[in-house]
């Protein structure tokens, strides 16, 4: 790959500079946090502005930003369609599940907690806990990969340095303020993604000779490049990606944490607006892939970085001023930082509610908050060790997300269907993966995910019907969450050791 001539020090300055801005915001925001309840669920006070802003940013993964360009480069506009449309839909589809679960379990914190309270089954709870934790770690890995890619293409920076700086920066500012920091910094990340994206892409189009020139060149490349409904992209990656993306929101504590942290009246509108207004981001950045097609960029030009590097390649090789190249890099950094921070925050909520509080129910809030914050540091270290170990974490991420797709059906049924049983939940997960993974390995991704979802559905429904259980969703309803009882009883934020509320007695069958 051609050397851009840009100094690596500029890349490091951008990472640290953005990090300094986020840390500054975090130090101001941390004044909102007094208790673990504030740290993991923002006191359930997130309003519409920070809600919409943070959900957009947390869903704008750095890799996704570059993949929109990559799919446009590889498949033309049909690739962009199959990448973009399911992405926004995955956020909007959360609405009915979010509304239903928030109404059933208004004082919840995590989706693992829901499964635990819903089924009272150790295997089901453990399966959910493991899947969610692995999913969050993979979310961190995939965003790190995006930053490594852009820094490698534009500045020639080595993987190790990029990983250490990125993880250190995000870990530090996530540590201060928890979900409040995550929501507010992510909102600013949305601004720093969207406005620069518009300016950079318009400038790239101008530098390439104007939209008409590039459009004609792309059109000349073949009938499929500007055919939004060409079927090759659907078969190649579109359908399996669409199903996998559904799992990425529904089986992701990053989003469920938002569900329980918002003021209830904003829930519907937040996810709808975030899903709708997410669309312009990959649409805009996807145009870089089309510009690459129109200006004759080839796979050889992209070298080892592959199609994922086409966006950074176009921006850094088309003759843009350095400030605009830096602006593009900042887009990727903002996408990465917001998503990793969101994952850290979600992970800390799982640790607080589903690990520490379960192992030590009488833990003081001060000790719980310390452990919760420490989990972010641990996650940062684990992330750094894995991605710098040389393991093929792209393959790992791909496999984990495939497995997570097995959660869609049983989780949806658990939320809506009172007859869904614990055994059905666990069996459908295990069998879906047992059937889907080998088919994925031997036949293909699309066949594998269809087999996985079909098995999941048949087993979940079949076993539940055979067991004839019926769950009373009213059991989930508590007036206060297990971390907030002391706030309501004492009316102020002194940390007290308050025993958790007794679980409701199981109804007689």
């Amino acid at each position: 790959m051609t050397d851009t001539g840009l100094p690596p020090a500029l890349g490091i300055a951008l990472m640290l500079g953005l990090g300094a801005l986020m840390v500054t915001i975090a130090l101001v925001v941390k004044t909102l946090v007094r208790t673990t309840h504030d740290f993991v669920i923002a006191g359930r006070r997130i309003g519409l502005g920070f809600g919409v802003g943070s959900v957009i940013a947390v869903w704008t993964w750095s890799m996704a930003v570059m993949m929109s360009s990559a799919q446009a480069f590889t498949w033309g506009t049909s690739g962009l369609l199959w990448f973009v449309v399911p992405n926004g839909l995955a956020v909007m589809v959360m609405v009915p599940f979010a509304v239903r679960l928030r109404r059933q379990m208004p004082a919840g914190y995590t989706i693992v907690e829901f499964i635990r309270e819903r089924f009272r089954s150790r295997p089901a709870t453990m399966a959910m806990l493991v899947a969610i934790l692995f999913g969050l770690l993979c979310e961190i890995f995939i965003n790190l990969f995006g930053v490594v890619l852009v820094m490698g293409v534009v500045f020639g920076l080595q993987t190790g340095a990029v990983l250490i700086i990125t993880l250190a920066v995000v870990t530090v500012y996530s540590y201060f303020g928890g979900l409040w920091t995550s929501a507010i910094t992510a909102t600013f990340n949305t601004l720093l993604i969207t406005v620069p994206a518009a300016i950079v892409v318009l400038w790239v189009i101008h530098a390439a000779g104007g939209a008409e020139t590039v459009f004609r060149a792309v059109d000349a490349g073949g009938p499929a490049t500007l055919s939004a409904f060409d079927s090759a992209a659907a078969k190649g990656f579109g359908i399996s990606l669409a199903l996998g993306l559904l799992a990425s929101t529904m089986a992701d504590q990053t989003f469920w944490q938002k569900v329980w942290s918002m003021k209830p009246a904003n829930l519907n509108r937040t996810f709808l607006w975030a899903g709708l207004w997410f669309y312009p981001i990959p649409l805009t950045l996807g145009l870089l892939g089309l510009v690459a097609l129109g200006t004759g960029v080839t796979a050889q030009d992209l070298g080892a970085f592959g199609a994922g590097g086409v966006g950074p390649y176009v921006v850094s090789h088309i003759g843009l001023p350095v400030v605009l190249i830096a602006l593009y890099v900042l887009i990727i950094l903002n996408a990465c930082y917001s998503s990793i921070d969101g994952a850290f925050s979600a992970l800390s909520s799982i640790v607080a509610v589903d690990v520490v509080k379960r192992l030590r129910p009488r833990v003081s809030d001060r000790a719980l908050l310390r452990a919760t914050k420490a989990s972010i540091l641990v996650a940062g270290v684990v992330g750094g060790v894995v991605v710098s170990s040389g393991v093929d974490y792209v393959q790992l991420v791909s496999t984990v997300f495939f497995i997570k797709a097995a959660l869609i059906v049983p989780l949806a049924l658990a939320i809506f269907w009172p007859r869904m049983s614990a055994s059905a939940f666990t069996a459908s997960l295990i069998l879906a993966v047992a059937v889907g993974l080998p088919i994925r390995a031997s036949v293909g991704e699309l066949e594998g995910i269809i087999a996985l979802e079909a098995t999941s559905l048949v087993v979940a429904v079949g076993v539940s019907l055979l067991q004839r259980e019926r769950f009373d969703f009213a059991r989930l309803r508590r007036e206060s969450g297990q971390l907030e009882t002391h706030v309501l009883t004492h009316g102020h934020r002194a940390p007290h050791d308050v025993p958790p509320p007794r679980p409701a007695a199981a109804p007689a069958r």
Binding site: R34, G43, P264, R269, W277, L283
Partner: protein, 112 residues
């Protein structure tokens, strides 16, 4: 070039409004939390008063989003003009957040 200049102007204006409203929202949060600490403000109910009416129209709105994004892609495939429009939709995402802050601010004024 005109499009770039317009995007810079619009983007800058959006950024200024965005930051101002975000800071304002943060200040209101601090007041709200301080009031709750002293027992003077209401603690947000854990019970989700998620108005059932909010769900009405969800399928239509989600479908509308899918149709709109698909339509944009059809336009990008059909006309180079759409390539100039799309980046302005990205600025629209930040404008949507600005509008969200405004609605939130108006809502909290009405509550008082």
């Amino acid at each position: 070039m005109v499009a770039i200049i317009f995007a810079v102007v619009l983007g800058t204006a959006t950024a200024v409004a965005f930051v101002a409203l975000a800071v304002d929202a943060f200040r209101r949060l601090r007041v709200e939390i301080a009031a709750a600490d002293t027992g003077l403000g209401s603690v947000p109910p854990a019970s989700g008063d998620v108005d059932a009416s909010e769900r009405e129209g969800f399928p239509l709105k989600a479908a509308g989003g899918v149709v709109a994004s698909t339509l944009m892609l059809v336009l990008i495939s059909a006309s180079p003009v759409a390539w100039y429009v799309t980046p302005f939709l990205a600025i629209g995402s930040s404008i949507a957040v600005v509008v969200a802050f405004l609605l939130e601010r108006d809502g909290s004024r009405r509550e008082r």
